[in-house]
Symmetry: C2
Amino acid sequence: MNETLSLLYSHRSDRNFSDEPVSDEALCSILEAARRAPTSANAQHISMVVVRDPVRRARIAELAGGQKWIAKAPVFITVVLDFYKTGVGVELAGSKQVAQETMEGLLAGVIDVGIALATAMAAARSLGLGIVPIGGIRRDPQGMIDLLELPPHSFPAVGLSVGHIAKPAQQKPRLPMEVFRHDESYHREGLKEAIVAYDAALLDYWRHIGRSDGQAWSKNTAEYYEQMTSRPVKLAMTRQGLTPEK
Amino acid sequence: MNETLSLLYSHRSDRNFSDEPVSDEALCSILEAARRAPTSANAQHISMVVVRDPVRRARIAELAGGQKWIAKAPVFITVVLDFYKTGVGVELAGSKQVAQETMEGLLAGVIDVGIALATAMAAARSLGLGIVPIGGIRRDPQGMIDLLELPPHSFPAVGLSVGHIAKPAQQKPRLPMEVFRHDESYHREGLKEAIVAYDAALLDYWRHIGRSDGQAWSKNTAEYYEQMTSRPVKLAMTRQGLTPEK
């Protein structure tokens, strides 16, 4: 197995960071990898905001619902969906930008957010650094917009804590390949059984690592999804002029 | 520089595929890397549909607006945003799933689509294979839904052609790091100048590789975004029960 595959297979979130700073060289490598990642039609509607300042990181930890590893890890990167940057280009070309008003624009841009995030994670982990992707910044997107002084038509889509690992985490088991891979067309058979077995396997895993609050996957997913309705994401998007109504 | 960084730095879409088939072993490695990639709160709302059948690939090439490399490359992977799979779990937990009705659910899921796609791309390229990410399947999402027999609450978000490379492509220049990276907060200065310079650099690049139809970035982005309003993405999502109104 090659080095990259072995890195990708071993993916995990390492929340236990040491105090060692992340070098500028390492940070530049991570950002350079993300900058060279593909974007839909080369539109490059992605920007990254790097926060090193501990006071600002403590504030982000709070906005994200009290995630203390954000305050601990020396670097926090926000992946910004950036239709402000492209808007300046579109205007230079003599047009009026409409991407931010379309569902197609939202999907294309947000997929590219995920690509940039995954590329930054792989780059950081290849340097031996630990990472935690942080969707929790969308608990208070307006707080992030204000803190990072984000321009109209841009949005703090997801974040990433980066630092040196004090104590490596273990890798959580996943649902089996049989319900991830489909050949030629989607198949539904065997799904319920696979979930029941996975729920049991995940509970075993939580016991194994001593996490007494660990839940079955189905219950955890149900609870995670339930709190989604209370997140002010659509409101913050609308205030930023991101209105995917078309 | 380590192997993974060097791979990520050299990212490019290779549209010139040979007839050599992709081995099952390579395909399994690509899917295994993607399966182990992170998802928001471990919800695993991602599935991949692998199409090898040449008649079906020809159909996808057509749905995607006549992209002939889809018919040529032996493997086409569709990354599916899959709230059907999670819905079965949520129901097993005795709840009613709402994620598919929220903007937060859409963002979390679509970011994870991008993560899965980027992970699959890195895995394939680490094996020496060529890849082309295909957003064009969203030109006719309903056609893809019908072809792949996708269940309710799922969506064909993006695709990936995978094959052996007949003739390697070159890497397109990108907007400079100065307008990708922001420190502590977003800065707007220098953006217009950077775009003007990049437009010129990209036109140089097109001339260098002999592409007479190559455009400046700002003009290309303006034209790419303009056709977004005509894509039936929102309609197809609504028919699948994906209504991010909350």
